[in-house]
Symmetry: C3
Subunit: 116 residues, 3 copies
């Protein structure tokens, strides 16, 4: 139905699904996974920028972020990349918990809900 | 207030809560938990079909799915059941992380946000 | 943009972000973390009450709750505090999984989506 817009849809998942002015993004991980948590976070946020741009919004309009960290000892490194990236006065609600992801070398995964 | 519709409400939780055209489903698990992850995923998705039907929507209108797996080694088995179930061109945004659930024998739990 | 209202915004995150009548709350944890899971849940829910009040809504209008527990053996204790807190006929959709949080002494963290 045309009240739901999907972006980057494969058989398994869509990179983003938009409905009623709200976008749900697929859990994003870094492209390069040989790097440390700071760099994986930076890469993940860059991918989020790309998807948000493709659906006509941007990082200043994020409503909620759920961050999964493979090791909570990377909390500081993740936050360094995160804090640099979040636009002033536009920080979303956020939760961060420890979890393993689909592949061993993924150190961080981020799920985003954003306004479009 | 009548702008929120609840379905299957107990003291502790509702099976689904609908507001502004968006439905939030309770984390669903398989009815039978003696089976493997593929079958538990199939059973879980069947329960999701039932709830979506009861609130007047269906699997082609899912916006976001968060999948919790007890063992990431079941990722392939879960995806086999998932890929068969998702209607063509209607795949939701999705995240999948490893987590233990409320009971030892639960191998997969799925949280759904859907359009109604 | 003024279609997004943020509450309690720091450089890193907002306590709550409201858009289109839906509020996303930051993952909440207890103020006092020397206490057990029942008391941490009670304290966490009290903080959620405070934030909901500040954005003009209340616990009867929660749509979805995601509960992270450090130890699933605390499931009963968490539920005792939860069941006392949820208003009759207003229970949200809910999921509960095991996860470690940002600090060792956090036993429970709760993410809320609510109608405003």
């Amino acid at each position: 139905m045309d009240d739901i817009l999907r972006h980057g849809t494969s058989k398994r998942m869509s990179k983003a699904v938009v409905h009623g002015g709200t976008a749900y993004l697929c859990g994003q991980v870094a492209s390069e996974r040989t790097s440390d948590a700071r760099e994986q976070t930076r890469s993940t946020l860059e991918k989020i920028d790309g998807i948000l741009s493709e659906i006509g919004t941007d990082r200043s309009r994020i409503l909620s972020a759920t961050i999964y960290l493979k090791e909570m000892s990377d909390y500081g490194a993740m936050n360094e990349a995160w804090d640099k990236w979040v636009p002033e006065n536009c920080a979303p609600a956020r939760a961060c918990v420890k979890a393993d992801m689909a592949a061993e070398d993924i150190l961080v995964e981020i799920s985003i809900i954003a306004a479009v």
